[in-house]
């Protein structure tokens, strides 16, 4: 029998998939599955080291929209253009599919996709006498945060990511910057942290967080904020659309029936603060069982699998954000109050034109170059230092600019 070693990230959907693979192995008795489930950072380290050195340890890997284009270009991933017809590649949401392709060659299939949006507490908003429109501006958000903030009772107006990391605070702040008209690099790859747009972004971000945010926000990531929101400690939370199902899950959320959703805010410049991300399954070229692996990834991202989940766990729990057909399914739309907002958010994101001004890179909340992980994290650390009160806005931006210039020069983008 063939053994597939599958590296996955330890989030709820992936863990759920592990529980449902009997269905797959029954169909494919000659394939055995071995799971490596890791925290995101560890997963990325392990998988990158392996794939870059052709270690050949994995047959299926879970990677994001950031890695796929880079690795695809390197020839490290097996092309997936030959998936069977019943897979219905065309059903995949176009922005997602675009993010997972290089020159029209698909290198990974999406397991779930997400954008970001605003989640808020209807009850608190009502009590505070504010309304949050479905398409809010940052001013709306500020006003609402101020109104709902009640730290003496353990309720904070807004929870945002503060923990340093290119996939953590940098991702969020980049989308915010996009909506403020800022960009990472100009067309000559010159870092732009010295621009007024960035200064406005960070100033507002810090204002929000220091005035209305929870304590210790500089170490809050997705998960910390999720916990806070589920405990009812946040008035608003702007984060991944997948959180929609968690905050409305009565088993884990104390505020399940009080959550409202809105699109990512804008500042009237035509871009909204929302990202695009898909955890996807890909097959390293170094895999020794690419065919079996293909069968697996096709199964795991198929409509059939979606139905399987729906059958076993309910429609609210199916992996969202990958297929058009899902958002046409009435059962799903009924079970998932956040579904419409999710698909709208996804469709509002454009990896090829993330911000107001032109940029030389693709990616909404990241820059799809290999150096971005390092730079993005280092910049994120500066922001989190500013959030922790260690630096002023200007110092943080100056430091970000300096290190970005240095890295980009070293990497040869800036001649």
């Amino acid at each position: 029998a063939t053994t597939l070693t599958i590296a996955t990230v330890n989030n709820g959907d992936m863990v759920r998939m592990q529980g449902l693979t009997d269905a797959f192995t029954e169909q494919h008795p000659d394939i055995e599955l071995e799971w490596v489930t890791l925290e995101e950072n560890v997963l990325r380290q392990n998988v990158t080291t392996d794939i870059a050195t052709s270690g050949g340890q994995y047959d299926v890997i879970t990677i994001g929209t950031y890695e796929v284009p880079i690795w695809g270009k390197q020839g490290w991933l097996v092309p997936l253009n030959d998936l069977p017809a019943e897979y219905d590649v065309d059903d995949i949401l176009p922005p997602i599919r675009a993010g997972l392709s290089v020159d029209d060659t698909l290198f990974a299939v999406p397991f779930y996709g997400e954008s970001s949006f605003v989640m808020y507490r209807k009850d608190l908003a009502e009590a505070a006498g504010v309304t949050i429109p479905d398409q809010p501006t940052w001013d709306d958000i500020k006003a609402a945060a101020a109104a709902m903030n009640d730290p003496d009772n353990g309720i904070y107006g807004i929870c945002l990511r503060g923990k340093a990391g290119w996939g953590e605070n940098t991702a969020f702040i980049t989308t915010m910057a996009n909506s403020y008209g800022a960009r990472w690099f100009d067309e000559n790859w010159q870092p732009q942290f010295d621009s007024p747009e960035w200064k406005a972004t960070i100033t507002d971000y810090l204002d929000l967080m220091t005035n209305y945010g929870p304590p210790g926000a500089s170490s809050n990531g997705f998960n910390e904020n999720l916990t806070l929101f589920q405990q009812g400690k946040c008035g608003m939370w702007i984060d991944a659309t997948v959180a929609g199902s968690f905050v409305t899950d009565p088993n884990n959320s104390t505020v399940a029936d009080q959550v409202g959703f809105a699109l990512g805010p804008d500042s009237g410049q035509g871009k909204r603060a929302n990202w695009l991300w898909a955890w996807s399954l890909a097959i390293p070229s170094s895999s020794d069982a690419p065919d079996a692996a293909k069968q697996f990834v096709a199964w795991a991202t198929s409509k059939e699998y979606t139905e399987l989940v729906a059958e076993n766990e309910g429609w609210a729990n199916v992996p969202p954000g990958t297929r058009t057909s899902l958002y046409e399914n009435q059962e799903y739309l009924a079970a998932a109050p956040f579904a419409q907002m999710t698909i709208d958010s996804i469709n509002a994101a454009d990896p090829n034109s993330p911000t107001v001004q032109p940029v030389p890179y693709t990616g909404v909340q990241f820059v799809a170059i290999p150096e971005f992980q390092g730079i993005g994290t280092a910049v994120g650390q500066e922001f989190s230092a500013a959030l922790a009160g260690e630096k002023t806005v200007d110092e943080a931006l100056a430091a970000a600019q300096e290190l970005a210039v240095q890295e980009m020069t070293t990497a040869g983008y800036i001649q």
Binding site: G12, V36, E39, V42, T49, N223, V242, A243, F246, N252
Partner: protein, 276 residues
């Protein structure tokens, strides 16, 4: 000083010592307690100590997600294997250094220790490439060897300090009695140094068990020990304190229990020559 300690004095000491001990132990206790709480209770404010609905659900969830036993087995194999292998190499080496010391013996020892100063992250890529070439990635053997090499200097040093306490005359006596070198080591030295060897063994099993860089980076599934197990629980989505606690408890319990049962040997031997 065997003067009677007054009961008052003893009481004060006892209270103080217990306070310190409980403070130091509290994080572990809290983790274990939390592992039995339902997730919402785990983050309840104010914190709940004992009066909650004790549940094994977290353990069940954790076990359902991962085959704990596979990881556990790897941890056992790798930590015991590397320690035994290390001892096999180190006993003769320490014999040489302790009983036939040369002018350079001290330097040699210090050099061995200095090999531990190389930051592991800096050499990960070279080692990974070597392992790939040798086909040792994700193999218990490879990991065992690496952990053995990492701990070898410590093993040698510990054994060296114990051996030096053994009077050379006893080995000479064995030699006069017709023992060959190997009989001398097997029948005389090793049994005599047994407390020291036991303590070395324990310390290194603990160090190997808890090693979290090479074990995470050089394994995938086949050889993955409990450190890798934990790496999958550090922050999943949603409330996770209770599950994290359950996973943590499962990862540390075996070595903690081993440590408790053998703490006497460990404490007795843990001197590194600090006590003459």
């Amino acid at each position: 000083m065997s003067r009677a300690v007054t009961p008052a004095r003893k009481t004060i000491n006892t209270v103080l010592a217990w306070t310190v001990a409980l403070i130091l132990f509290f994080p572990i206790l809290w983790t274990v307690l939390t592992s039995f709480k339902p997730e919402p209770v785990a983050v309840a404010s104010p914190p709940v100590f004992l009066n909650f609905d004790w549940t094994l659900k977290n353990y069940y969830d954790v076990e359902r997600q991962r085959d704990y036993f596979d990881y556990f087995l790897n941890s056992v194999i790798i930590s015991l294997g590397s320690t035994v292998l290390g001892l096999v190499l180190a006993v003769p080496a320490a014999w040489s250094m302790a009983f036939v010391p040369g002018r350079r013996t001290k330097d040699l020892l210090m050099w061995m220790l200095s090999t531990k100063m190389m930051p592991a992250v800096g050499v990960l890529v070279p080692i990974y490439l070597i392992f790939r070439t040798l086909g040792l990635l994700d193999s218990r053997i490879g990991l065992t060897v690496v952990l053995m090499l990492i701990n070898l200097p410590i093993i040698v040093w510990m054994l060296y300090t114990y051996f030096r306490e053994i009077p050379g005359e006893i080995l000479e006596a064995a030699r006069m009695d017709g023992a060959t070198l190997s009989s001398e080591i097997i029948y005389v030295l090793t049994p005599m140094a047994l407390p020291g060897i036991a303590s070395t063994f324990l310390l290194n099993v603990i160090l190997a068990w808890n090693e979290a860089f090479w074990t995470i980076n050089l394994t995938v599934t086949d050889a993955a020990p409990l450190t890798k197990f934990i790496a999958g629980f550090s922050s999943p989505q949603g409330l996770f304190y209770a599950k994290l606690s359950a996973a943590s408890t499962m990862a540390i319990a075996p070595i903690l229990v081993l440590g408790w049962f053998s703490q006497r040997q460990l404490v007795r031997g843990l001197t590194f020559g600090a006590v003459k």
